[in-house]
């Protein structure tokens, strides 16, 4: 059963972090990421860690839940660690066969692994505390100044919304088609890669045909509901900045400004 999977890892809640304007949250995360790349030494990491822990505390998202977000990316973190550990030249610590680990390499490996971990947890805090729909709204609003230079802000946001809406439907459909073909003796589980890819045809063809049919019907239904693009469109929930948003962005600017400045001190 695919239908129970929650999309986008959103962890519902009503804390101050959840209630912050999505635009503000996106900007803060941008500042967070930028400052992360300005850091060249370990001490400022303490400030980054403090920020993450503070947000987790305020958002009441269980720490376990946040760390779960790291799981699928663990391989990348390990690979980053190993590459840095083995390929950085410097004072030799020890060697395994032809591979040598240097003191600088070890430092660099820990440093880069931490950077990745912070990067992932930071951004996942955004998706954990912001529902997909307000995230889309936030992106649309932030991009709207760029409409003049041809960025289709509204269309992008609409596409994201529709994609989110149809992911569960299509997953369910995938499950159904797979079963129907298995009932006719199809095999999706064995064989080599080439055979397996070939065996996917009976799944993918109907899936695409159905998706196009859905898209067609959806387009007509949207037209019947007077959809004509983003022009003159209003929203049920308009985004409005209030005091907490201003406060959050001001404090964050100072905080991350300070972190960036540590590099030049």
């Amino acid at each position: 059963m695919f239908r129970d999977i929650t999309i986008g890892l959103y962890f519902p809640g009503n804390t101050i972090i959840h209630r912050l304007d999505p635009r503000i949250k996106i900007i803060i995360i941008m500042m967070f990421i930028t400052s992360l790349f300005f850091i060249t030494s370990f001490p400022p990491y303490i400030l980054i860690l403090a920020f993450i822990l503070f947000v987790i505390y305020l958002s009441k998202v269980p720490l376990k839940h946040v760390l779960k977000g790291l799981k699928p990316l663990i391989l990348i973190i390990v690979v980053t660690f190993l590459i840095n550990a083995f390929l950085t030249k410097g004072e030799e610590l020890f060697s395994i066969g032809p591979l040598t680990v240097t003191k600088e390499g070890l430092r660099q490996a820990v440093f880069m692994a931490l950077r990745l971990i912070f990067l992932i947890t930071g951004t996942s805090l955004l998706t954990l505390t912001t529902s997909p729909i307000s995230l889309t709204d936030g992106i649309e609003k932030l991009l709207s100044p760029f409409k003049r230079i041809g960025v289709p802000a509204h269309e992008l946001a609409m596409m994201m919304t529709i994609a989110l809406r149809f992911i569960p439907t299509l997953l369910e459909e995938t499950d159904k088609i797979m079963k129907a073909q298995m009932a006719r003796g199809a095999d999706f589980e064995s064989g080599n890669i080439l055979n397996r890819a070939k065996n996917l045809v009976p799944l993918l063809v109907p899936l695409f045909i159905n998706a196009f049919r859905r898209a067609d019907e959806l387009a007509i239904a949207m037209e019947a509901r007077c959809y004509r693009g983003g022009e003159n469109r209003t929203r049920l929930n308009e985004l409005k900045l209030d005091r907490k948003d201003i406060l959050a962005i001001s404090l964050s600017t100072l905080y991350f400004g300070f972190i960036i400045s540590t590099r030049y001190i």
């Binding site: 239908r3 529902s131 997909p132 729909i133 919304t161 529709i162 989110l164 809406r165 569960p168 439907t169 369910e172 049919r213 859905r214 019907e217 959806l218 007509i220 239904a221 949207m222 037209e223 019947a224 509901r225 007077c226 959809y227 004509r228 003159n232 469109r233 209003t234 929203r235 049920l236 929930n237 308009e238």
Partner: protein, 277 residues
């Protein structure tokens, strides 16, 4: 006429373009007038042209010949198209493929948002529409976790929030289970009686037509029969010929009459038949 909401005048509609061979005439020289506040049911088997007719009624399709007027506005008039679609809202067969947003209330708001209604007014309309279809408690839910009947009611609310005078429903129950069907039929009746909406309900289920004010039966792009439910259902042979059903008791009454029993020819419900026997 003031009491007329939709007028179809000598409309022909052809699918496809180019050579004669490529064309499929789905609607053949039809004229219909839908009265304000009426509950009209259009019956017909698949391919009889009934869905095409529905799409002609709010400018989703434009007639090849003839004219369609909604509230006096010609659907060919490009400037009026959004007014027309707002006046004649449309609900489709597959509830999954007409819900746009990931939260029920956001979806209901989609129409008014497109119309550029101020946020506070949208909020009022969304809440009201969800109350009418009895889905208010679900306003924060994700649509994909609702039952078919519930999804279809959300779709109806999405149309209601646009404040249409007329609602066209194109086989709204075809994909639902019996409970979902009952939910939708009750909602449609409520819209007609309490909210005073004109209803054009397209279906191939005869039992859904029993309570209509008027029935049109389509066959091969033409109107084959027209009348009140009693007038239509009394012609059992003709209906079967057109590939449709009659309620079982209507058929039984008809069969008994053929055997020489004195039974009126307009039996539609179990109660009516029990009474006359």
């Amino acid at each position: 006429m003031a009491d007329e909401i939709i007028r179809i005048e000598n409309v022909t509609y052809q699918y496809g373009s180019g050579g004669e061979d490529n064309q499929l005439t789905a609607i053949k020289d039809i004229s219909i007038s839908v009265k304000r506040g009426e509950y009209l049911v259009i019956l017909g088997h698949n391919g009889s042209g009934k869905s095409t007719l529905a799409k002609l009624m709010n400018g989703l399709l434009l007639p090849t010949k003839g004219d369609v007027y909604v509230n006096g506005m010609n659907t060919k008039d490009q400037d009026k198209i959004w007014d027309i679609r707002q006046t004649a809202g449309m609900v489709f067969q597959n509830p999954d493929n007409q819900i746009v947003a990931t939260i029920v209330e956001e979806d209901v708001a989609f129409g008014p948002e497109n119309q550029g209604i101020p946020p506070l007014e949208i909020r009022k309309r969304v809440d009201e529409a969800l109350r009418i279809v009895e889905m208010y408690e679900y306003k924060k839910h994700a649509p994909h976790l609702l039952s078919g009947g519930q999804k279809q009611r959300v779709a109806i609310a999405g149309i209601l929030a646009m404040k249409p005078d007329c609602i066209i429903l194109d086989e709204p129950t075809a994909m639902l289970d019996p409970i979902g069907r009952i939910e939708i039929i009750n909602t449609i009746k409520k819209l007609n009686r309490e909210e005073k909406k004109t209803i054009v309900h397209i279906t191939h289920y005869m039992d859904e037509a029993v309570e209509a004010d008027r029935i049109l039966v389509m066959e091969e792009g033409r109107i084959a029969m027209e009348g009140t439910p009693k007038e239509i259902f009394s012609q059992v042979d003709r209906i079967k010929e057109l590939g449709l059903d009659v309620p079982q008791v209507t058929e039984l009454a008809y069969e008994l009459r053929k055997e020489g029993f004195d039974i009126p020819n307009d039996i539609l419900t179990v109660e009516e038949l029990v009474k006359v026997l």
